[in-house]
Each structure stands twice: as C-alpha cells, then as structure tokens.
C-alpha cells in the first residue's frame, strides 16, 4: 500500500495545514455548477437523446441533429467541469469523451454488430480512465475480459442470429433499410430518456453539490502515515493488489471462482438444451414448443446433439 499512494500521502504530509484551506476552496468551487444549469443540461440531453434514438418517423438526418445536440451537451458539461478541474489532465477529457460518445452510439446504432463494436471502443476508453487512476491491472483485465471474451461471445451470437434471421424473405426485404424492425424502432424513447436523464441529473447534482468528505479524507490519509512497514515490500501496484486480494479477500476470491464454475456449467446446460419448434415437428399441435432437458444420450462423446445435424448413433430422448 505504501508505494502506490506515497505521493498522495506525501501531499497530505507536506501540507497538513492546507487541508482546511483546501476544503474551503472546494466549498467555493462547488458553486461552479448551479442546479439550474444542471437541470437545463439534463433536459437538453434528454431531448437530444429522444431525437437520436432510432424510431418511427425519425429519418437519418433528424437523428444526426439529435447526435449533434448530444455532443453539444457533452461539450458544454465538459467546459463547465473544466473550470473546476483540479488534477485531471487532457487524457481524462479524451478518454471520457470517447467513452461517453461510444456509449451513446451503442444504444443508438441500428445494427447490433456495430453496437457491439462501439462497446469495444467504450471499453478501451474506460480502460484508459482506469490507467489514469493507477489501476493498470484492472485496465488490462477489462480489455481482456470485456474486449476479448465477452464481446467475442456477443458478436458470435449476433452473427448467429443474423444469419438465421436473414433467410426469410420478409426479413430480407426489411433488412435493406438500416436493420431489422426491432432494431430500427425503439420502445418508449421519450419516457426512457426522461427517466434516464432525471436519474443522471440527480446523481450529478449530488456529486457536485459539495464535497463534505474532503477534510475528513485528508485527516484519514494523514492518520494512516505511521502504518507499520509491510513484511514484504512489493514494488508495483499490481503486486500490491494481488497481495491485498489474497490477504484480505481470500474467501471472496474463492467464491468468485466458484460462481464462474457454476455459471459455466449452467451455460453449457442451457445451450445444449434441444428445442423443437411447432413448424418443424408435424406431430405437435397448436403451435406449442417443446424444450427437452439436456440429458446425456449415451457415453459416446460424438453423440452430443447438434442442431441441424442427424446423428445415427444418437438415441432418442426418453421424453419423446
């Protein structure tokens, strides 16, 4: 713990008398965002969001206007925040704008694959923000897990669905515009924008209201100065994080591994389940769908049922 935050502790130690002055300065700078301005910004952002969301009667040019409005709101908020910027550099602004812009594109793009790719952009920018906060390991883990594993799974499922869904003629005709019908028309954009930006406005109001904890934090950091020296001096933040995890959070770490194992078993069990649709099986009447349990067929691993294939070795389910 020593090495990573020595500079913060040093700042607290070298200027302990300036802590009340700093708190007073914070109290002043909290006035820089008046609630009325936040309210106006949130209303503008909500209006821009409901314009930029895909929907019936909103052509591409109109949605571009909404996107420009969204960008303008972000820039105005950034300019207002920039006045009370203490300790954030230019990289914070770059990463924050990329992350938020990518996030807006994730929920407004009409093609799921592009949404997923913009999500990768957001993940990368968020990893940049993590690095700015000296959480290098978390940044790497975020890119590996989100940008690598989870997103590949998402894109795989999206392409699987798009391939199968594009075969019918109706969908094909619909696809010539900007995507499938349920991607082009969003559900309740006005209500959702109002609710979402009301929540964001309240959160921002509370965040920028005042900073009562600053003086308390300075005393806490100063009080932590005479910590006993660690038994093994670890050089980097990642090593310290590992030591913290295996020292203080050991049971939680084991539980996390258990959860991952259970989830993997459950996902395999769910995905292997066989589905008979009503139009596939003539014997089924009334449009009902049968979902069979994923019981093991026989001991031969080659007889795992795969949709669309006929395996002569495969025995029938007991239920059929």
């Amino acid at each position: 713990m020593h090495g990573l935050f020595s500079s913060a502790l040093g700042a607290a130690a070298t200027a302990p008398a300036s802590a009340p002055a700093l708190a007073g300065q914070m109290g002043q700078s909290a006035e820089l965002i008046p609630p009325a301005l936040l309210f106006v910004l949130c209303v503008a952002a909500a209006v821009a969001m409901m314009i930029v969301l895909p929907g019936r009667g909103r052509e591409k040019s109109i949605r571009i206007i909404g996107g420009v409005g969204m960008l303008a709101v972000l820039i105005v908020l950034g300019a207002v925040l920039g006045k009370l910027a203490a300790g954030v550099g230019v990289f914070f602004w770059i990463f924050a704008f990329i992350a938020l812009g990518g996030a807006v594109r994730v929920i407004t793009h009409t093609k799921p694959v592009y949404s997923a790719l913009y999500f990768v952009l957001t993940v990368m920018a968020t990893a940049g923000l993590f690095v700015l906060m000296w959480a290098e390991f978390m940044a790497a883990a975020l890119i590996l897990i989100y940008g690598g594993a989870i997103l590949v799974t998402y894109v795989f499922v999206i392409m699987l669905a798009a391939e199968a869904g594009g075969t019918t003629a109706a969908v094909q005709a619909d696809d010539e515009h900007t995507g499938l019908e349920h991607d082009r028309i969003s559900r309740e954009p006005i209500l959702a924008s109002a609710v979402g930006f009301a929540l964001v406005g309240i959160l921002l109001f509370v965040i920028f209201d005042r900073a009562p904890g600053e003086a308390r934090r300075q005393t806490a950091l100063a009080a932590r100065m005479p910590t006993p020296a660690p038994i093994v001096e670890l050089p980097g933040a990642t090593q310290q994080l590992g030591a913290y995890l295996f020292d203080k959070q050991l049971v939680n770490l084991e539980l996390a591994g258990l959860i991952l194992t259970v989830a993997m078993v459950g996902a395999i069990l769910i995905a292997r389940r066989r589905v008979w649709r009503a139009d596939d099986v003539g014997a089924l009447a009334g449009g009902e769908t049968i979902v069979a349990p994923a019981t093991p067929i026989d001991d031969n691993p080659h007889s795992i049922p795969v949709d669309g294939t006929h395996n002569p070795r495969q025995k029938a389910y007991p239920e059929t």
Partner: protein
C-alpha cells in the same frame, strides 16, 4: 481532490450508467439489452475505482474484480438463454415474448 478529481470520474460513471439505463429501456434487441447492462457495469466500475483511488486503498479495485466476475457469469448465462429463446421464435425481438407478462 488534489491528486484525483473524484467528482469528474463520478460524473463520467453516472452519465455512462444513465446511458446504459436508457438503452436498456428503449432497445428491443435481446442482445443489445444485455450489452446495455454491461454499459451500466462499466459506469459502476469507474465509480468504484475512483473511490478506491480517492481513499487510497485497494477495496475499489477488488470490488471491480468481483463485478467483472459477476458480469462474465451473467453474460455467459444470458447469452445461453438468448440462444435458447432465439431457437424457439427465430427472432431476437424482445416484444415477441410479450406473452410472458401474463
């Protein structure tokens, strides 16, 4: 606040959470709905790491590790369910499952 402008990071996290929330409510594609939950996870993760950095300990980063674990488990299970739902109705439209409202 000298080392880290906590409020700026909290603002980014809050806005990202809000955007994910709006997407969760408006989008009708099952996969995009789950992608929006991942967006909300990101916003929360920014908040947690900023708080951990602010207070000078590793609790925030440890929290984010567990959030990532839960997100991975959730994504695998949810995508398995999405594949199962897709195989029954051949569409990813969430409105097709309106009958579940009862």
């Amino acid at each position: 606040m000298t080392e880290l402008a906590l409020q700026h990071y909290l603002a980014v996290g809050a806005i990202m959470f809000g955007i994910g929330l709006i997407g969760f409510m408006t989008r009708r594609n099952l996969i995009i709905i789950f992608l929006c939950t991942e967006l909300m996870f990101q916003g929360v993760g920014i908040n947690l790491i900023a708080f951990g950095r602010y207070w000078g300990n590793f609790a925030g980063q440890a929290f984010v590790i567990f959030v990532l674990v839960i997100a991975a488990a959730e994504a695998s299970l949810a995508l398995g369910l999405v594949v199962l739902l897709f195989r029954q109705k051949s569409t990813l439209d969430a409105d097709v499952w309106r009958e579940l409202k009862g």
